[in-house]
């Protein structure tokens, strides 16, 4: 059996996803980082962006995270985000509307949130 790492994707008020994975790709402040089993312990600050998790049964889980951290040690990966949602939970039409509205209002953070969600939804 291939090596696995245990992933916990946690938002401030709930646990979003947890399970076994073979690869996690997340965007830190200094660029995308891919973590495979037995990686050296790492603690990074996440940018808002999509996180891709390759599960050990061959599937892919994509989530949009907005600010947070990743910490990896002992083959356990914790992804902490203030808000995080799985790509399947994202309502594309609503986010497109939100994006339009944020652009019109000049709300940069809302615009970024909506576009991150849309990117995550497009990647699923």
């Amino acid at each position: 059996m291939a090596a696995e790492l245990h992933v916990e994707l946690v938002a401030a008020d709930r646990s979003v996803w947890s399970g076994e994975a073979t690869l996690v790709v997340a965007r830190t402040m200094s660029g995308d980082i891919g973590v495979m089993p037995n990686h050296q312990p790492v603690l990074g600050v996440l940018e808002s962006g999509p996180v891709t998790i390759r599960t050990s049964d061959g599937g892919t889980v994509i989530a949009a995270v907005h600010g947070g951290f990743m910490s990896f040690a002992d083959n356990k990966m914790s992804l902490l985000a203030e808000t995080a949602e799985l790509a399947d939970e994202i309502d594309v039409q609503r986010e497109e509307r939100d994006l339009e509205r944020a652009k019109a209002a000049g709300d940069a953070s809302a615009e970024r949130r909506a576009s991150v969600r849309l990117r995550a939804a497009a990647a699923r």
């Binding site: 603690l43 990074g44 902490l80 203030e82």
Partner: protein
């Protein structure tokens, strides 16, 4: 119906109505406690993971950060007091306020100026009534706080602690909230959030675990910079959730005893009403008997 009896009947009706209300409030509070407890549980994974990360950075690197180093002479401290918006919760609010007052007195005895920040209308009313200065206050979300609310509260506090003391910043951040121990026990506690005591944080982390040497991405300073405000937010969020759960538990208990008291009062009043009714009947009978006896005496007299 006699006047006495009518008064008793009226009081019984009003107490019965009050009892219905307190009973309903008790049941609402009971369901809210469960909901609030569930929220506390849902926020726990984030808090524990964050605590682990903070401990890892704090112990695994020799980085100095304004939020973890203790200034040699602290001259000003911020106290965040968490109360509720509504009363009817027994001693819940007054206990929290009392704890905050004690903490303030202690800090002032140590020669520190105290800036007070208040959450909840009850606490604010207490300070306003005494015309004491409150730096900032928030209300309207104490029953069901969300993470966004915690961020809103944490923002100005983090700002204040990052500012130089000379420019009106603070050196320490304390928080006073009501800890939810169990359904029956809630205690008002105070704690220092910042500067961080790493030993204390380390104690909260799971025991018997050797923290690995992390590689920091992009650097230990940047990670700490981003991590500590989140840590403060998460602690405030947790305190707000516990405070909400405690408030509902206190309301439930207060309303339960109010309902019990109303029941007792209804019993006593019913007995008094029964006695009054009985006395009325007895009096009526004796009046009738007396009247007929008088009539009989009178007719007997006229016959003669």
């Amino acid at each position: 119906m006699g006047a006495q009896l009518r008064v008793y009947k009226r009081r019984i009706r009003s107490v019965t109505a009050t009892k219905k209300i307190t009973k309903a409030m008790e049941m609402i509070a009971a369901s809210r406690v469960v909901k609030a407890q569930r929220k506390v549980a849902a926020s726990t994974p984030y808090a524990t993971e964050l605590t682990r990360a903070v401990t890892a950075v704090g112990t695994g690197s020799n980085t100095k950060h304004p939020l973890t180093t203790e200034p040699e002479t602290a001259t000003r401290a911020a106290v965040l007091l968490l109360t509720s918006d509504r009363g009817l919760a027994g001693a819940f609010n007054s206990n929290a306020i009392k704890t905050a007052e004690q903490l303030t007195a202690r800090l002032e005895a140590e020669g520190k100026e105290v800036d007070t920040y208040v959450v909840g209308r009850r606490g604010l009313a207490h300070y306003n009534f005494r015309e004491r200065k409150v730096v900032e206050s928030w209300s309207g979300f104490t029953d069901e706080p969300s993470y966004a609310d915690a961020k809103k509260v944490a923002g100005p506090l983090i700002e204040a602690i990052e500012k130089e003391t000379a420019d009106g910043g603070v050196d320490e951040l304390h928080i006073v909230y009501t800890e939810f121990v169990s359904m029956m026990t809630q205690t008002a506690v105070d704690g220092r959030l910042l500067p961080l005591r790493l030993e204390e944080v380390a104690e909260e982390a799971p025991k018997g675990e050797i923290l690995p040497l992390f590689e920091f991405e992009p650097s230990a300073e940047d990670v700490l910079d981003a991590l500590l405000p989140r840590y403060v937010e998460s602690r405030i969020y947790n305190a707000m959730l516990q405070s909400a759960a405690s408030k509902h538990a206190a309301t439930r208990r207060a309303m339960k005893s109010a309902t019990d008291n109303a029941g007792e009062l209804i019993n006593t009043l019913s007995r008094l009403a029964n006695a009054a009714r009985q006395a009325e009947i007895t009096q009526e009978i004796s009046e009738i008997v007396g009247g007929s006896a008088a009539l009989a005496d009178a007719s007997a007299g006229s016959d003669r």
